[in-house]
């Protein structure tokens, strides 16, 4: 899949491009709005990642200009502004997304992935999730590991469900805060970690293969089979 990355800071551009390429995407880069507009007119992109602070124009204006020109690719906005502009929120309603700097690469990848998923019609999320010997029935809110039924609180179930749906992928604390608790901030204490430890205590009991792994400094990953 082809992605257009519009970012004027070369340092950032390089590692983002590296991570996206590493994840298997075909990445085109542009350093300013004009180049981006040319590229968008020439190629069809499955998604675009646009920094708001471009040297020649405002990122939002670029997006609006491309939209006018008939470019329908979903956009992930990178913003160095603290509070998110109302105009960005307006775009978000249209299926686009935003990420404030600095961000974790895992989060950038996760958001890019979900943007691409929105654009390509897919089968409904399966109501039964299976990772290794862990099974989740999202309709009946039941989780089992092997033969044992896991006794999870509703909160823990939501957390496990999110981990299962992203099995094999890195999940950061801030992604968990946003997706599981619906809050966009970083607590000063390790509250999210404690939730994970608890969940781990119920799932990865003695004598079983540990499923939830901690990637220090990055986040967590539920190992897929």
């Amino acid at each position: 899949m082809r992605i257009l990355l519009v970012e004027d800071e070369l340092e950032i551009q390089s590692f983002v491009k590296q991570s996206l390429t590493g994840a298997g995407y075909d990445v085109h880069t542009a350093e300013d709005g004009a180049t981006a507009a040319l590229l968008a007119a020439k190629y069809v992109y499955h998604a675009m990642i646009v920094d708001l602070g471009l040297p020649d124009q405002d990122g939002i204006d670029l997006i609006l200009q491309m939209r006018k020109a008939g470019v329908t690719s979903p956009v992930l906005i990178l913003s160095a502004r603290r509070s998110v502009d109302d105009r960005v929120k307006g775009l978000e309603l249209g299926g686009d997304d935003y990420l404030t700097k600095p961000f974790a690469i895992a989060e950038l990848l996760a958001r890019t992935r979900s943007l691409l998923r929105r654009n390509t019609p897919q089968a409904e999320d399966p109501s039964r999730l299976r990772v290794y010997d862990l099974e989740l029935d999202t309709l009946r809110r039941r989780a089992t590991r092997g033969d044992e039924v896991l006794n999870l609180s509703p909160q823990e179930f939501v957390l496990l469900e999110y981990l299962c749906r992203n099995a094999g992928r890195v999940v950061t604390r801030s992604m968990l805060m946003t997706e599981v608790w619906g809050m966009r901030f970083q607590p000063d204490t390790n509250v999210v970690d404690v939730h994970i430890y608890r969940l781990r205590g119920k799932i990865d009991t003695e004598g079983r293969e540990p499923l939830i792994k901690t990637l220090r400094g990055i986040g967590y990953v539920l190992e897929g089979s």
């Binding site: 340092e11 590296q18 160095a80």
Partner: protein, 494 residues
């Protein structure tokens, strides 16, 4: 205006100003009139005295020259009758009997020698004799049977008798009374008119002040870009509006500057932070030896903490300058607090902290949910960081008519005495604290921007108590409708 609106009018400054102005005007005009009245009265008296003195002189002359025979009484009587027809200021000719003037001649004691006038003159003579005044100048005599005193002039004849000519002061009194009645009527009308004119003029003037006040309070509450209505006149109130608008220009530009500075500061710091973090992460993912991994991980942690500090710092700066951008929606405080408790409960019980929540159900407030999450997270983070194990944390939610109150209590060591007075200032923290000292400053600033307040104290029975008050949804709406009503009222006045 309905009777309900009468009270506000009586309490208004316009009412008081016009009341005092009219009072001063009324007293002033009354004093002027009193002087005028005195002047007119003395002038009238002077004229009647002059007439009396003149006439009594003529009469005494006639009396002296007329031989004292049988005709004496008739001659002098005729002359006196004639004189009495020329009474000055004569107004009432209705009575056929002339009781306004009398003439009498008598000795110091003994009977009347001559009498011209109404009645037999005995009462007049008795009254004159009982008057102890000096008889060289005209004097007042109260005669029995007459309400109004007579002015009497006298001349002593050579034969030892006295000639008295009396003139009733009735006409003078009539003139003066007429003057008073006319003046008082006019005075009441003028004072009332003055009151009405002053009242409406000041109310109009103060109405403009009220408009400015309302506009200013609206600006204070919501957007800085709107301005106080510009009045056409270049008077004091026009100046007030101008000055306020100038001030608002300055404030707006300062706030705008603050936004620009914080935005550019944020931008300038965030880009390198992003680059460094990205590189570290790439390095970590690329597989490095264990020793390096440890330092990279802690570097990433430090970077994240720096980012949080940067964010919070700028938020506090903006909130304290009332420049924090809020995106308010209707929030159920009860549900929001419960969500936060769900998030924090495992950490609390992990640390051995007990937890209790008391709430009477949904409490709707208008707030920025993102900021409120952080406010409550800050409070709970504080508890987590500072409370020793086996303490109890209790959150209670209450609401009265206008405010929602969130109380957070614990039975821990409480706030350090030395910092408890500066809890909400930036960079104030307990000695043992490892935080950056922004937590409570942030809480206070955000709550204040929402129109609420925070108080912190140590409980008497030990432990700390933090109280956060936030205005309720209904209260806000009520405020708005009040403002609207006021605006409408002033519209209808203007």
């Amino acid at each position: 205006m309905s009777s309900k609106a009468a009270n506000p009018i009586m309490r208004s400054a316009a009412w008081r100003i016009s009341l005092w102005a009219s009072l001063a005007f009324a007293i002033g005009t009354m004093l002027v009139f009193a002087m005028l009245h005195r002047f007119v009265a003395s002038d009238l008296q002077r004229r009647s005295d002059a007439w009396l003195s003149g006439e009594v002189g003529v009469l005494s002359d006639v009396a002296a020259r007329t031989p004292k025979d049988r005709l004496y009484g008739r001659v002098v009587g005729e002359v006196a009758e004639l004189a009495s027809r020329e009474v000055p200021y004569r107004e009432q000719a209705s009575t056929t009997e002339n009781d306004a003037v009398f003439f009498l001649q008598a000795g110091d004691n003994g009977p009347l020698r001559l009498w011209v006038g109404y009645g037999d003159g005995a009462a007049n003579l008795a009254a004159i004799r009982s008057t102890q005044a000096s008889h060289d100048v005209p004097f007042d005599v109260r005669v029995q049977g007459f309400r109004i005193p007579f002015r009497v002039a006298s001349v002593r004849m050579n034969d030892g008798s006295n000639i008295y000519l009396g003139l009733s002061e009735r006409d003078e009194v009539h003139v003066l009374r007429k003057l008073r009645v006319r003046f008082l009527t006019l005075w009441v009308v003028i004072v009332l008119l003055g009151f009405i004119i002053v009242f409406f003029a000041t109310r109009r003037m103060l109405g403009r002040v009220t408009e400015i006040t309302e506009a200013a309070s609206r600006i204070g509450q919501s957007d800085l870009s709107s301005r106080v209505p510009d009045t056409k006149g270049k008077d004091e109130i026009g100046h007030l509006a101008d000055t306020l608008n100038h001030m608002l220009d300055r404030i707006e530009s300062t706030v705008h500057q603050l936004h620009t500075i914080t935005d550019s500061l944020a931008h300038d710091l965030r880009s390198p932070l992003t680059a460094v973090r990205g590189k570290l992460e790439t390095a970590l993912a690329g597989g490095v030896i264990e020793d390096h991994a440890e330092s990279i991980v802690s570097a990433i942690d430090e970077l994240d903490r720096l980012t949080e500090f940067l964010n919070t710092s700028l938020d506090v700066a903006e909130a304290q300058a009332d420049a924090l951008r809020l995106s308010r929606t209707e929030v159920d405080l009860d549900a929001l607090v419960r969500d936060m408790i769900d998030l924090y409960e495992p950490s609390m019980s992990n640390k051995g902290l007990g937890f209790q929540m008391k709430s009477a159900g949904a409490i709707k407030i208008m707030a920025d949910p993102g900021l409120l999450h952080r406010v409550i997270a800050n409070l709970l983070d504080n508890e987590l960081k500072h409370l020793p194990a086996s303490c109890l944390v209790c959150i209670s939610l209450e609401a009265d008519e206008h405010m929602a109150t969130l109380t957070l209590e614990d039975n821990g060591p409480g706030f350090d005495a030395e910092i408890s007075r500066h809890l909400f200032e930036r960079r104030v923290k307990g000695r043992a604290s490892r935080g950056h000292g922004l937590g409570l400053a942030f809480v206070e600033a955000v709550v204040r921007v929402h129109g609420g307040s925070v108080t912190a104290a140590n409980r008497r029975e030990g432990g700390a108590r933090l109280t956060v008050m936030l205005p309720l949804c209904e209260a806000e709406r009520q405020n708005e409708s009040d403002l609207l009503a006021l605006a409408n009222a002033s519209d209808s006045q203007g």
